[in-house]
Amino acid sequence: MSASGAAATPEELKQRIEAGIPGASAEVTGDGHHFNAVVSAPAFQGLTRIAQHRLVYDVFGGEVGDRIHALSIQTKAPPSGAAAHSHPESIV
């Protein structure tokens, strides 16, 4: 059960996030060890930030902290209406 030795790439992370979370679109940057992912997905709607980030971490399981040394995440739920940059005040 050895993880593949190949270094992770931003492209790989992007594809896996988009495949793992329905409807997600991701922008990933990184150097093979430290990555930054900006992820937008309808599935985030109504979830707390922690729950949103967990969905992203769950795509990679035990690789985060290991093969993927660090993964910084910003999540956004795509606006349901026209308001582009609204900040929902409460999530209940």
Partner: protein, 132 residues
């Protein structure tokens, strides 16, 4: 390998979370963070001026393992307030910028643009003891 040791360590972590209103599990210490994400989180906590307990997870890899079992969160640092897992560096940063962190810490007035001189609050160093 022994379940006994594992359980004890997890209990110690849970006790530390329960007993410290604000506790940060990090790489290194507030005085000497060993990772940029831990350093950033410490800087934020210090700038809001709320004392916090800190646990260095580096001395024993099992601390991190057990901690992640408690929080269901894979990365370090991890901040807990009043026993609740709050998030890691990204979330703490977002919450700081929106003022939510200050609210969660019971500091209603968020130091917004004024950026007062960061006060070095007294961090309470804390050691999770491993009885190997």
């Amino acid at each position: 390998m022994s379940d006994q040791t594992t359980n004890t360590l997890r209990e110690q972590i849970q006790t530390a979370i329960d007993e410290n209103p604000v506790i940060l599990f990090m790489k290194g210490t507030p005085e000497q963070p060993m990772c940029g994400f831990s350093a950033r989180t410490v800087a934020i906590l210090q700038s809001v001026g709320r004392p916090f307990a800190a646990v260095n997870i580096l001395p024993d890899p099992r601390i991190r393992q057990e901690l992640s079992g408690v929080s269901n969160w894979p990365t370090i640092p991890q901040l807990f307030i009043d026993g609740d897992f709050v998030g890691g560096c990204d979330i703490v940063t977002e919450m700081y910028e929106s003022g939510e962190l200050q609210q969660a810490l019971g500091l209603e007035s968020a130091p917004a643009e004024a950026a007062p001189a960061p006060q070095a609050s007294e961090p309470a160093p804390l050691t999770i003891e491993n009885r190997l």
